[in-house]
């Protein structure tokens, strides 16, 4: 006993003598926090998006949608510093070039602005550029307002006339070299897309009257020769699918299911074929639909919303919060509030990343968590990992917004924690086995 006490005392003395150990343990950190610019007040981390071109990765992190601006971050690659620079604040809602920050902005590898290709752009929100009303896309320091469907323009007009509140914008893109931009605004019950390197919007109109929340979530699913656009209408628990093969888009069908279906959407390559899968969240679960099946499905615009019209095998898997190991509290976790598909381990197949900003974890209420699910042909989808932000406090709502940041052959997660005014890059995962000083 005295020997043990002596050892403890010695360890205490020696250990306590070193304060540099805290630098050693925290640098380079497995989680890198994007520092909030002073111009951004509350809600930083509510909005995140990533636009990458080669090894150049740019992140957009914004505050409260419609009210707060956003900021650009140039991200490094694994080594320090994780964040190389912070650009000027974008999408300010005041002034003659007012911009109402999108609830879900989209990052674009390329976009055609004023007839010129621009790289690493963001669809940041709806707004006004001189006399033009429309969707504002910002590439570096250039910001151009893209035309929008008339119904949306009319809604914006009401806004600037002071007759209405600014409309929310939900946007999505794909990770193709020449990406397609999909946008929607529930206020106008309108969804539209811009084909690659084009600035003329094509509206996606459902065959039946959409719900009030039509467009609250959008996703672009890459398939061979085209895209499938998914537009969520969680108020009606529906997701409208449109297939676009380079010509006019066609209504593929309507997914229906549990309450809240379509509250979040994401797309990415999960299984072993070349088609991307569609990930759909309802109020309780997350569903994975095989992209190949969607691509091969026969259009069924008149079919009731559901899954019956889908070809057999379209439902790849279902994820639930109950799959999560440990003592985390699923009730009220808002499981599926945000979704992305990211290849965390660099194996070429994406993992399903599910945000649960209301999850109580690590003994803290509503601190939020990001859950990682892996899918394999043999075992299907399985819970793989749970990511937390160590500095989270109660109400941080980590995982309220998610984006994928490519990092030299693999992806890392950009997650917002608006309750803590933070956004963080999560470099490590239990699935990742590569060499990284951050994930030692």
């Amino acid at each position: 006993m005295p020997r043990r006490a002596g050892s403890v005392a010695l360890a205490l003395l020696v250990g306590a003598c070193s304060w540099s150990r805290f630098d050693e343990v925290s640098e380079p950190a497995p989680v890198e926090v994007l520092e909030r610019p002073s111009a951004l007040k509350a809600g930083f981390g509510n909005v995140v998006a990533v636009a990458a071109q080669g090894e150049r990765v740019r992140a957009l992190v914004g505050g409260v949608p419609l009210a707060s601006p956003a900021a650009h971050f140039e991200l490094g690659f694994d080594e320090r510093p994780g964040i190389q620079a912070v650009s000027a604040v974008v999408c300010e809602s005041r002034g003659p070039r007012a911009c109402f920050l999108a609830t879900q902005p989209a990052g674009l590898r390329k976009f055609l602005l004023r007839g010129e290709e621009q790289e690493r752009c963001f669809a940041v929100g709806l707004g006004r550029d001189d006399s033009t009303l429309g969707l504002q896309v910002r590439c570096d320091a250039v910001s151009v307002t893209q035309p929008v469907p008339e119904v949306v323009e009319a809604a914006l007009t009401e806004v600037f006339e002071g007759a209405a509140e600014p409309p929310e914008l939900f946007a999505a893109s794909d990770r193709e070299e020449e990406p397609t931009l999909l946008a929607a605004t529930p206020r106008a019950k309108s969804a539209w897309f811009y084909p690659p390197l084009e600035s003329v919007p094509q509206e996606l109109v459902p065959p039946r009257a959409p719900g009030e929340q039509y467009g609250r979530a959008v996703a672009v699913v890459g398939i061979s020769g085209g895209r499938i656009f998914a537009v969520g209408d969680p108020g009606k628990s529906e997701v409208w699918l449109y297939r676009w093969l380079g010509e006019e888009p066609e209504v593929l069908g309507c997914l229906g299911g549990a309450a809240g279906l379509g509250r979040s959407l994401a797309a990415g390559r999960i299984d072993e074929d070349d088609e991307e899968e569609l990930v759909v969240a309802d109020n309780g679960d997350v569903w994975i639909l095989r992209g190949a099946a969607l691509a091969a499905a026969s259009p069924a615009p008149d079919e009731p919303c559901g899954v019956d019209w889908l070809p057999e095998g379209a439902e790849l898997d279902r994820l639930t919060c109950d799959d999560v190991d440990g003592s985390h509290v699923c009730e009220g976790s808002e499981f599926g509030a945000a979704l992305i598909v990211a290849d965390l381990d660099g194996d070429g197949s994406g993992e399903i990343i599910v945000g649960a900003p209301g999850m109580s974890a690590a003994g803290k209420r509503r601190t939020g968590a990001v859950l990682v699910y892996d899918w394999s042909q043999e075992g299907g989808a399985a819970f793989a990992d749970l990511r937390l932000l160590s500095s989270s406090t109660e109400g941080s709502r980590f995982g309220a917004a998610l984006a994928v940041a490519p990092q030299r052959g693999r992806d890392v997660i950009l997650a917002g924690a608006p309750g803590a005014n933070k956004a963080a890059l999560i470099y490590c995962s239990d699935l990742y086995t590569g060499e990284s000083a951050r994930c030692r």
Binding site: V25, S390, S391
Partner: protein, 503 residues
């Protein structure tokens, strides 16, 4: 002559000198050194004109062949002691010696004619009869009071019965009838001394034996009604109490060492005591007129007494890990009777340094000691520094533990991949670590300072002052009775027989 001896204030001392000289001559005579013995006796007579010296000188001269000197000495003997009881025998002896001298002279003349020139002839030695070659002794008889009539009878028939006063006593011859004090030159033999009824005193008597070449001193205390012996007790402890035939010590002491006085003949049990010494007990047997000295060597007891006090108002005293008690100023020193030897002493007092030492208890003596306690060096600063050090070290420990816990948490979070650099626990842990180091460093300095101030002690240690050893307190009667009148139940004493130690 005898009166002169008795009247002298230092009669005993003179008698002792006479006795020594007489015995010296006797010793030379016995070894055949007649000339030297004669010289001693002649000198003895010149200094102390007792006839016994002259008689003994004559015997020596005669044995030496110096008949004319022997005749001269015997003639002087008769001149000095005109009442000598052996006057007739001495006169006959002188005549015989003269005849021998005449024969000797005639023989020398004849020898001169026949053997001319034969040189000077060696003196002839006419060996005296065996009875005539025996030394005589000086016998001194004193009475208290003096002037008592004294008769001395000699046993002339060895077969005669014991002398009985008032009877014919055949075999006993009266050799002298004097008034005390008496000094006689008596031949060797057995005598009977009778002190006739004198004034209101009854008659006293005793047998005495006269040995050759001695001085015999007889004393008779008529008031005691008996002849007495003389007992003297000396020893290595002056003032020791002497009890005679008083084993329970119910009476006052017989005397204090050195002490001597008349004592009835017989067996006596002597007890000598002195504070701090073991009791000495011996039984002696004295005959009438014996003079015996008992030299007592008292041995100290195996224990001693220590008396302890201190220079402080109150002191708690412990000896050999057993509490002796609380001593307070103004009270007598605490006493402890301890076995002789080395003992451990601890003395403590509030605000003073404890005294831990040893002391040696003397045998049969009192050792006074005083603890000189030194005030304790004030430790206020040391305690304050210790408290500050403890607080700082405690704070450092607390912060260190907190820092370690935070580090462990952060390490776990890092291993789990959750750690972000803005985690406030990083800065908190760093500051806790710095605080712990500061606490340890400053606390350590204070601890060292406190230790130094606890150890630092410019004051000397407490000491034990040992006093001069003292004898045990004498709780007996302050004054011992004088030698005279101590033994009222005896009458007469005298007789000298150095059967034990002579003095």
């Amino acid at each position: 002559m005898g009166e002169a001896l008795a009247a002298a204030p230092d009669a005993s001392a003179r008698l002792e000198i006479i006795r020594q000289q007489m015995e010296k001559g006797q010793a030379l005579f016995v070894t055949g050194k007649y000339a030297e013995a004669a010289e001693i006796f002649e000198a003895g007579f010149r200094e102390h004109p007792y006839s016994a010296f002259l008689f003994n000188a004559a015997v020596c001269h005669e044995k030496n062949g110096r008949l004319e000197l022997a005749v001269d000495a015997l003639e002087r003997y008769l001149d000095v002691d005109r009442e000598a009881p052996d006057r007739d025998e001495v006169s006959e002896r002188i005549a015989r010696l003269r005849a021998a001298l005449a024969e000797q002279a005639q023989a020398e003349a004849e020898a001169d004619v026949e053997a001319e020139p034969a040189g000077e002839a060696a003196p002839r030695s006419l060996a005296p009869a065996e009875s005539e070659s025996t030394m005589k002794s000086l016998v001194v008889i004193e009475t208290t009071p003096s002037s008592a009539p004294v008769q001395i009878y000699r046993l002339v028939d060895p077969e005669a019965p014991a002398f009985v006063a008032g009877r014919p006593n055949p075999g006993w011859r009266l050799v002298a009838e004097r008034v005390a004090p008496v000094s006689l030159t008596l031949a060797v033999g057995r005598y009977h001394v009778v002190v006739e009824k004198f004034r209101e005193f009854n008659r006293s008597e005793a047998d005495i034996v006269v040995s050759p070449g001695h001085v015999h001193h007889f004393q008779a205390n008529l008031s005691q009604g008996a002849f007495m012996a003389f007992l003297r007790v000396t020893g290595n402890v002056p003032g020791a109490y002497v009890y005679v035939d008083d084993p329970e010590q119910q009476r006052p002491p017989w005397g204090r060492v050195p002490h001597g006085e008349l004592i009835p003949p017989g067996k006596h049990r002597i007890v000598v005591e002195a504070p701090g010494y073991r009791k000495f007990t011996r039984t002696v047997e004295l005959a009438a007129s014996d003079r015996i000295e008992v030299a007592v060597k008292l041995v100290r007891v195996d224990y001693g007494v220590v008396k302890v006090d201190a220079n402080v108002p109150e002191a708690w005293i412990t000896i050999d890990d057993r509490p002796l008690g609380l001593w307070k100023r103004g009270e007598p020193a605490l006493e402890a009777e301890l076995p002789a030897g080395v003992h451990r002493l601890t003395v403590s007092a509030d605000g003073h340094k404890d005294l831990h030492t040893t002391f040696e208890v003397p045998r049969g003596q009192v050792l006074p000691v005083r603890a000189h306690l030194i005030p304790q060096y004030p430790r206020g600063a040391a305690w304050t520094q210790a408290a500050v050090a403890a607080a700082l070290l405690g704070t450092g420990t607390f912060l260190g533990i907190q820092s370690n816990q935070l580090h462990d948490e952060l390490r776990a979070d890092r291993d789990a991949g959750h750690l972000d650099p803005t985690d406030p626990r990083i800065d908190r842990g760093r500051w806790f670590s710095i605080g712990a180091n500061a606490g340890f460093a400053i606390g350590g300095v204070f601890a060292l300072l406190s230790t130094y101030n606890f150890v630092k002690d410019p004051y000397p240690d407490s000491t034990l002052q040992r006093g001069k050893r003292r004898e045990f307190e004498d709780r007996r009667a302050p004054a011992a009775p004088s030698a005279a009148g101590v033994i009222p139940w005896r009458t007469i004493a005298t007789g000298v027989d150095f059967t034990q130690e002579a003095w």
